[in-house]
């Protein structure tokens, strides 16, 4: 039994079977990596968790509640946050404002007409947002426009935005893609630290094996739309099926 349970999920795009009978359990408090070659269906699977795609058949449940057929904002309210492959941030706003928005958002998503309150006076929210930026080592950049950040910083900012919501499950889609080695290592440290401090469950899609084996406590290998193995990192390393999936043949 996991916090996130995926059962017999199928998804086709026209004639292409992107996901075939996928089963997955993400245990509470763990970092669970989903790896696989390009086109294995990793991002499609993640899209099925956040309401971006609807599986053809199968179930996705989070804390016993089905995530299918409900809208993205309701999924987030249930406790699932996502960091995207290309950072989804508010580019025209400052870094601090970016983080303040999730801080303002009520956990239950309720609408509040706070048109006559002043951002300037919201010291609690501001402090919380500043603290999130300290956590992702971006405190000194809080006045910069999000647009002008480096790619690595944009992703760190997006993580801060997700963490500001105290999610139960954090989905990360290639959090280190396109990052320099130093940035990648910083991200590994950051995620490890978050895991230690807050015990947030994470599901990570990643190509970089260095990242995967540094962080993951559990790994699922996806190939051609189906989970071929799920095991601990040590066992995955020596698994013949995994070698085959990645290298296209047995040795």
């Amino acid at each position: 039994m996991g916090i996130l349970e995926v059962r017999n999920v199928n998804k086709s795009f026209g004639g292409l079977k992107a996901l075939h009978e996928v089963n997955l359990d993400v245990q509470e408090g763990m970092i669970h990596a989903i790896i696989g070659p390009n086109g294995a269906g990793k991002s499609t699977l993640l899209n099925c968790f956040v309401g971006k795609l609807e599986p053809d058949t199968g179930t996705v449940t989070f804390n016993g509640r089905s995530l299918l057929g409900i809208r993205p904002h309701e999924i987030n309210q249930a406790g699932v946050s996502r960091v995207f492959q290309t950072p989804e941030i508010f580019r025209d706003l400052t870094v601090l404002e970016n983080v303040m928005i999730p801080c303002f958002a009520k956990r239950d998503g309720s609408f509040e007409l706070n048109a006559l309150r002043r951002i300037h006076n919201e010291t609690d929210i501001r402090e919380k947002a500043e603290q999130m930026l300290v956590d992702v080592t971006m405190a000194e950049k809080h006045d910069m426009q999000a647009e002008s950040l480096s790619r690595g910083d944009k992703r760190r900012l997006e993580m801060a935005m997700c963490l500001a919501q105290d999610p139960q499950l954090l989905l990360l889609d290639e959090p280190t893609a396109g990052m320099a080695r130093a940035d990648t290592n910083a991200t590994i440290d950051l995620l490890g630290e978050i895991q230690d401090k807050r015990k947030i469950t994470m599901a990570i899609i990643e190509h970089d094996m260095h990242v995967v084996f540094s962080l993951a406590e559990r790994i699922s290998v996806l190939a051609q739309g189906t989970v071929i193995v799920e095991d601990t990192p040590d066992k995955i390393k020596g698994n013949a099926k995994v070698q085959e999936a990645y290298l296209g043949g047995t040795h």
Partner: protein
């Protein structure tokens, strides 16, 4: 001050001073001079229009500037506000306050319905939906709803209106002279003016203008508060990345709808003031060209900025009046100093841009602004300020070398 930071307070004060001094500032030339006859804009009718369209544009900017949703049907709310205000002036009282309040309320209710439907779509589809609704409102007002709107003749105060309120509250069918009473507040009619003569200059301080100006400052103040509120931040976030907002657990619809209604109420206020200043309304007030005009004003001044829409509204209304007033004779008088053939040539060249051709001038200005100053006049102002500042620091840097 009053919940504004220092910079916003200064901005509000500057606007307040300019608006209060407008009758002086807009009449820079002696009344009888040729320049004065053409370029002076300090007469009540035009000044009222400056601030009324300023309110309209401020409200439009709350929607378009903050959320990026381009409504092409805002004139519908302006028209609805005008009709609602007129009915108050006819049925209840000639006092302008109940008329204006009712205008705001009715425009708010109508924008709630139109917004509720239109906001199911975004981008160009939203624009088209609002345009369709506005054209529908225009057609209804001109035909089916004739009992309410007066159809093509429009609606005006008449000698048969009940005006049920007691006399001291502005009721009464006729005034003491037996004529149709004119809209008033505190016992003074909207058209009442105090004229100050200074040498050849004549400055007109109009009661109606100052009432409109007060409403505009109030509207401007509320707009600043909205821009600086968490609600305003959410609206900016909608413009920036609506998807991320959804993945942050927020349903954007209530925010959009509230914003749309607030914007509609601003338009209603503008419409109500129009009815109060000049108690007659026709359906043409709702036509799509009127909706387009407020888009032009906002973009020309600078969408998403606080002061931009007011500047844009002022500029367009100024050009509309001044340029359309210039005629062939005026041009001939101006260019009369040149030899005849040159006068003829200049007049022929300039003539298409004046009088009825003022839209051509407006179009050219609009194109220049959009191409060279995408941030509108406000961006132009900022660039000049930056240039000025750089010049100053440059001079300062030279000093030690002396």
């Amino acid at each position: 001050m009053y919940g504004l930071n220092r910079k916003d307070t200064v901005l509000l004060l500057i606007v307040a001073i300019l608006v209060a001094a407008a009758p002086l500032l807009l009449n820079p030339f002696p009344d009888t001079s040729a320049m004065g006859k053409t370029f002076n804009a300090g007469y009540p009718d035009l000044m009222q229009r400056f601030v009324i369209f300023g309110i309209f544009a401020i409200g439009f900017n709350i929607l378009f500037g903050l959320t990026g949703y381009l409504s092409f049907g805002h004139a519908a709310f302006l028209g609805v506000g005008s009709y609602a205000g007129m009915w108050m002036l006819k049925l209840l009282s000639i006092n302008v306050i109940p008329a204006i309040l009712f205008s705001i309320a009715v425009a708010g209710a109508v924008s709630l319905i139109i917004g509720w439907i239109s906001l199911r779509r975004s981008g160009i589809y939203f624009s088209i939906l609002t345009l369709a609704f506005a054209q529908m409102a225009f057609s209804l007002a001109a035909s089916v709803l004739t009992p309410i709107t007066g159809g093509e003749t429009g609606l005006q105060t008449s000698l048969n209106d009940p005006r049920i309120m007691p006399g001291f509250l502005g009721g009464g069918t006729v005034n003491s002279a037996g004529n149709i009473p004119a809209p008033s507040l505190l016992g003074m009619e909207m058209s009442e003016s105090f004229i100050l003569n200074v040498g050849p200059w004549a400055f007109t301080f109009n009661w109606g203008y100052y009432i409109c100006a007060t409403f505009m400052l109030l509207a401007f103040y509320i707009a600043i508060r909205i821009f600086r509120s968490p609600f305003g931040l959410m609206l900016k976030a909608i413009k920036s990345n609506q998807q991320r907002l959804n993945y942050t657990g927020l349903n954007t619809r209530p925010y959009m709808l509230t914003c749309f209604v607030i914007s509609g109420m601003y338009a209603g206020l503008a419409g109500g003031l129009m009815a109060a200043m000049d108690p007659q309304v026709g359906a043409e007030r709702m036509q799509w060209t009127a909706s387009g005009e407020v888009v032009l004003m906002t973009i020309l001044g600078g969408a998403g900025t606080l002061i931009g829409p007011v500047l844009g509204a002022g500029l367009i209304k100024y050009f509309e009046n001044i340029f359309s007033k210039i005629n062939k004779a005026t041009l001939e008088a101006w260019f009369g100093v040149f030899p005849d053939w040159m006068t003829d040539l200049l007049v022929t060249l300039v003539y298409p841009f004046i009088g009825k051709g003022w839209h051509l001038t407006l179009g050219l200005i609009f194109m220049l602004v959009v191409i060279f100053l995408p941030g509108g006049l406000v961006e132009g102002g900022q660039r000049i300020a930056r240039l000025f500042r750089r010049g100053k620091t440059g001079a300062g840097a030279l000093k030690p070398a002396e």
